[in-house]
């Protein structure tokens, strides 16, 4: 191996000597700079794709510079060709780089679009989950969807006869409502008392008011702010069934709890 190197070296030395006699090897810093610049970019695939024309101009000018140099042409001509070769190589390099950056921009745009979509889907999914949770809580409360919003009805059986005090079962229902109101802080409620048509109007009006008030107090006792709870008695008004049968009268004796929308708005009867 070593011997081969030696012979190789000898051969090169000899050839250098021989050509040296014919013509002294020409060198020019500008041409070398242009050659180095061209060599750096000539195999760059991005440059080949996007700076092809400039790369070819660089090669042509470089060849010209080198042949002028070999022919011992005027230095200004040589260096002009070298200058042009250098610039074309530099432009080609910029074009390649820019194309690479453009590819990056495009793939980043794709990623951004995907993320934006993910964000939107995430938001939609969160909203859907929230709506589903609310629907379940409403179902647990046995609230019904009506024209006035979600309405929870406390039947007559939850109160003592002709009394305003809630029975333990009624207290439990109110407890569930209080829990719901703690979870959904912006919801408000309107508690409305109703009676059947038996007895004096004024008595019925009073009883409906006291029952509504009683439910209101129960809620406030459970820690719900009184500002979130309004109450009103309607007496015999707005029956939901006929007062000519005992079952109809029982249905009319009730307390309705209207749950506000998410912004705290409630449709009132007076509207």
């Amino acid at each position: 191996m070593k011997q081969r190197h030696v012979t190789l070296g000898l051969a090169i030395g000899l050839s250098v000597l021989m050509t040296g006699c014919a013509s002294t090897p020409q060198q020019n810093a500008k041409v070398e700079e242009a050659r180095a610049s061209y060599d750096r970019v000539k195999n760059d695939p991005a440059v080949a794709r996007s700076g092809d024309t400039q790369l070819r101009s660089a090669r042509d000018q470089l060849n010209r510079a080198e042949s002028l140099l070999k022919d011992g042409a005027d230095n200004n001509r040589i260096e002009h060709a070298a200058y042009m070769a250098l610039r074309h190589a530099q432009i080609a390099s910029q074009q390649g780089e820019r194309a690479e950056l453009q590819t990056q921009i495009e793939s980043a745009e794709d990623r951004r679009r995907a993320l934006m979509l993910a964000e939107q889907t995430g938001e939609a999914e969160a909203a859907r989950r929230e709506a589903e949770a609310l629907r379940q809580r409403m179902a647990e409360l046995q609230a019904e969807q009506t024209d006035r919003g979600m309405v929870l009805t406390l039947g007559d059986v939850l109160f003592d006869l002709n009394q305003a005090d809630l029975k333990p079962a009624g207290e439990q229902t109110v407890g569930r409502l209080a829990q719901f109101m703690r979870e959904y802080e912006n919801r408000r409620v309107r508690i409305e008392g109703y009676t059947d048509s038996t007895g004096a109007d004024s008595y019925n009006q009073q009883l409906s008011e006291r029952r509504a008030e009683s439910v209101r107090n129960a809620l406030v006792n459970q820690g719900i702010s009184s500002r979130r709870v309004e109450s009103k008695g309607y007496g015999e008004q707005y029956p939901v069934a006929g007062n000519d049968s005992s079952s109809g009268r029982q249905q009319n004796r009730r307390v309705e709890i209207v749950i506000s929308d998410k912004d705290g708005n409630i449709d009132t009867r007076e509207d």
């Binding site: 005027d74 200004n76 002009h80 200058y83 042009m84 610039r87 074309h88 530099q90 432009i91 910029q94 074009q95 780089e97 820019r98 950056l101 453009q102 990056q104 921009i105 980043a108 745009e109 990623r111 951004r112 993320l115 934006m116 993910a118 964000e119 995430g122 938001e123 969160a126």
Partner: protein, 128 residues
């Protein structure tokens, strides 16, 4: 153009031009007026300016503008060959200035969009 001329004097290019003229113009035949080269150099300058080279590559753009101004002087003196070389150089200088400006803008765009993506990603992570 007057401004370019005064800059040229400051940078001492006139001396260089005089040298060039002496070295070459003296003995070479005047050749043809480099009108086509002048046109391409000026159009290259316009394109470079349109690519915001004034903002991103002011020095190189200025060089190119000076070369064109100098070349015009040489044309008046019928030193066509030197003018032609200057114009050819001005043309590639302007092209390079424009290309570098384009690259710089693309690099900025990549940075911006990456920041954008990072902000989005953080927002999504926070909301989860």
């Amino acid at each position: 153009m007057k401004k370019h001329r005064s800059i040229t004097i400051c940078t001492g290019k006139v001396a260089l031009l005089a040298g060039l003229a002496l070295a070459l113009g003296g003995c070479a035949s005047p050749g043809e007026r480099p009108d086509a080269d002048l046109q391409s150099a000026e159009s290259a300058l316009q394109q470079a300016v349109a690519a915001d080279a004034r903002q991103y590559e002011p020095v190189l753009l200025n060089d190119a503008q000076n070369k064109v101004a100098d070349a015009k002087n040489l044309i008046e003196k019928e030193e066509y060959q030197n003018a032609e070389r200057l114009l050819q150089q001005a043309s590639v200088d302007a092209q390079l200035a424009g290309a570098r400006a384009e690259t710089a803008k693309a690099r900025q765009a990549v940075e911006e969009i990456n920041q954008n993506i990072e902000a989005l990603r953080q927002r999504i992570n926070q909301s989860q």
